[in-house]
């Protein structure tokens, strides 16, 4: 075990599937602010689809690295609350801390950023005083509380609990390149605009020597059945095609994406995401 030298920058970011309709998110903020009024409190999102750990894992990857090292993330999409699933604090190779149930939330981060060390959250010291009778809201009683202890510097990462060697990971399909053909998964939708975000990195295009302005035959399949197959231009920005026209572009995470200019690609062609959905780009 190497000695970690993580330093908090007194900044916490919350993610959950709680929505903002009731007082749940506010109660998490309350616990953190009561631990220390010196911590800056922000949101990633609270609109993760209910119990969708995969989306939580993806959204964490999408935003985490833009926050400066030393930021603490509290991520609570927790279908197993009250079960025997563990609670963990995760130090990433980028110097961020993630406080979360051990249920797969760190899958994408583990792949793209890397994990330095995981510790199991243990004991009454990491639980809001007086909350011992509550079993259903660990987001407030354990995760926000422990996150605030860490963010405020009142507890060190080492003091959270013992090192954990194994942790829960979701299945993620790796992207592939074969000559001028690129294959991958549809990771997620850019919800507001219905664009498809794949897990195929822009570096594949460089590797294959494919410049902006090229055209691809784009094929999308679901459970092995082809549901979309058209030729699209690879553009630098949406405005290079007419309104209503589709395009291939590199998204803000530097992965290949497919969209309709001022339209909703996923709705238009009834495309979904996650397991069973595959996409291929063939240079023409």
């Amino acid at each position: 075990m190497t000695e970690t030298t993580w330093t908090s920058r007194r900044c916490m970011v919350f993610m959950s599937d709680f929505g903002r309709v009731d007082g749940a998110v506010s109660a998490m903020y309350a616990v953190a602010d009561a631990v220390s009024p010196e911590i800056r409190l922000y949101d990633l999102t609270h609109e993760i689809p209910q119990f969708d750990i995969w989306s939580a894992s993806y959204r964490l990857m999408q935003a985490m690295t833009y926050w400066a090292p030393g930021t603490v993330f509290v991520c609570v999409v927790d279908p197993g609350v009250g079960s025997s699933r563990k609670s963990i604090a995760v130090l990433t190779d980028s110097g961020h801390l993630i406080v979360t149930p051990d249920n797969g939330t760190i899958t994408h981060i583990a792949r793209t950023v890397g994990i330095t060390e995981i510790r199991e959250i243990e004991g009454d010291k990491n639980r809001l005083k007086g909350s011992q009778k509550s079993y259903t809201f660990q987001g407030r009683d354990v995760y926000a509380y422990t996150g605030a202890l860490l963010a405020s510097g009142k507890e060190s990462f080492e003091d959270v609990g013992p090192v954990l060697e194994n942790y829960v990971k979701l299945d993620v399909i790796a992207p592939e390149i074969h000559g001028k053909k690129l294959f991958g998964a549809i990771d997620i939708l850019d919800t507001r605009y219905g664009s498809l975000w794949t897990n195929i990195p822009e570096s594949f295009l460089e590797e294959a020597g494919i410049p902006v302005g090229s055209r691809f035959r784009v094929t999308i399949s679901h459970e092995g059945l082809t549901v979309y197959g058209y030729e699209l231009a690879y553009c630098k920005s949406f405005s290079e095609v007419a309104k209503g026209e589709s395009l291939v572009y590199v998204n803000s995470l530097l992965n290949l994406a497919v969209a309709v200019n001022k339209g909703d690609f996923a709705s238009l062609y009834r495309i979904g995401t996650g397991e069973g959905w595959k996409i291929a780009f063939e240079l023409i």
Copy 2:
């Protein structure tokens, strides 16, 4: 009149039925930040159903006590804006301040936490400068402004206005225990998951000597007509029953609640909340 010794911790929490679609909440934040940039500004929720004072009162109870004493709450669900209803600042027995129209918003807090003193908000000193011609947005012009004066320490609680002896309360049905039978109201839905949250405290279970693992006959009636009657297990957590199965549990506020594991109980059985809805738990 006892002398109050309330001390601000420079933290304000906003609740309203404004939503976040337009700039109304932002205007309240703006007024508070302009009074003093030293105040931390947070939300409870702005998604209270429109004009639903009862929900506002319940949500305030749900989250308020997790915030540290000295926090100021600005609660604006105000169907009577512009009418003769009073504006009040309320010191609770827990050391929190609530700035709100006098329309019932403090009903649940009065019952569960207790009220130390109420003062009527009066005069031009408690109104944003230059807002005298605006009658329809007191959330911004009066409540956010007065709340920020209090939270920043620029105005003491005593200086807000005269003590008010009477205030508006909503009708709330008290829970009852008769041997192994518990009766109460369905206070609210856990919106995201459709769980029923009753006003029957866990202490009734202790009083009646009913342990986790017991089974209840749960009966729900609306306007005296029984609309639900099944036997359910009293569980410590959702994961003790199969997906789609119903259960009784103690919620995060330590009251009895009813849910479907990974489902929406209220939608499934068309259960509502508030006046006219009653629930009974009979040990079997």
Copy 3:
């Protein structure tokens, strides 16, 4: 060119059409907090209808002036991202800074508050380090980053780039008064309540000597076709009419507005906003 003496108060306010479902807004916050943890970060709204620059321009006017001078606004409703549209930093006559694409977002502010100076945002110094390959998320890479440089005092307004004399403005119809007849546009809906907010200022009522309690014949037309024509009372507040009854009032921005007490005027009478919609108030 006069020398500007703008001073930051270390407060940033974000507006966009991104929603809060994914991590986009969080990434903008992340960039700003990484530039300086000393800046207070707040929202105007992120629920501007997609690509609706006109709504963005209106909402900015609605909330901006309630924030203290020295506040920096980052406004990103940007259908032309990646095109040749410019990026600008705008100093208003009220002492606020707006960082935005040059696409019409400052239309209403220019008319009601006034523009002191506009500078074009240029160069790699105003772009997040390492983001040169990303073309589709300038909200994060350029606007949040530049806004944070300005809000933190790390960059002066003059250093952003050269002065720009011309900028993009949307078409806005001016209100008119002819004796006891007032004409104008329906600027926007008060979304939550469905009230119509016109651009006719209360000062017209004073000019025409029309007191509260008067009655108007209100006529609404769309593309020249009359779609509504009824007599309504001019009230000080909603509670002066019965539930379900319509009224004319002065809204929180001191313009004439039309509403149904505890109802939704726009839905009830199918009224829209923006170009093609006109409203007239004739004293009776």
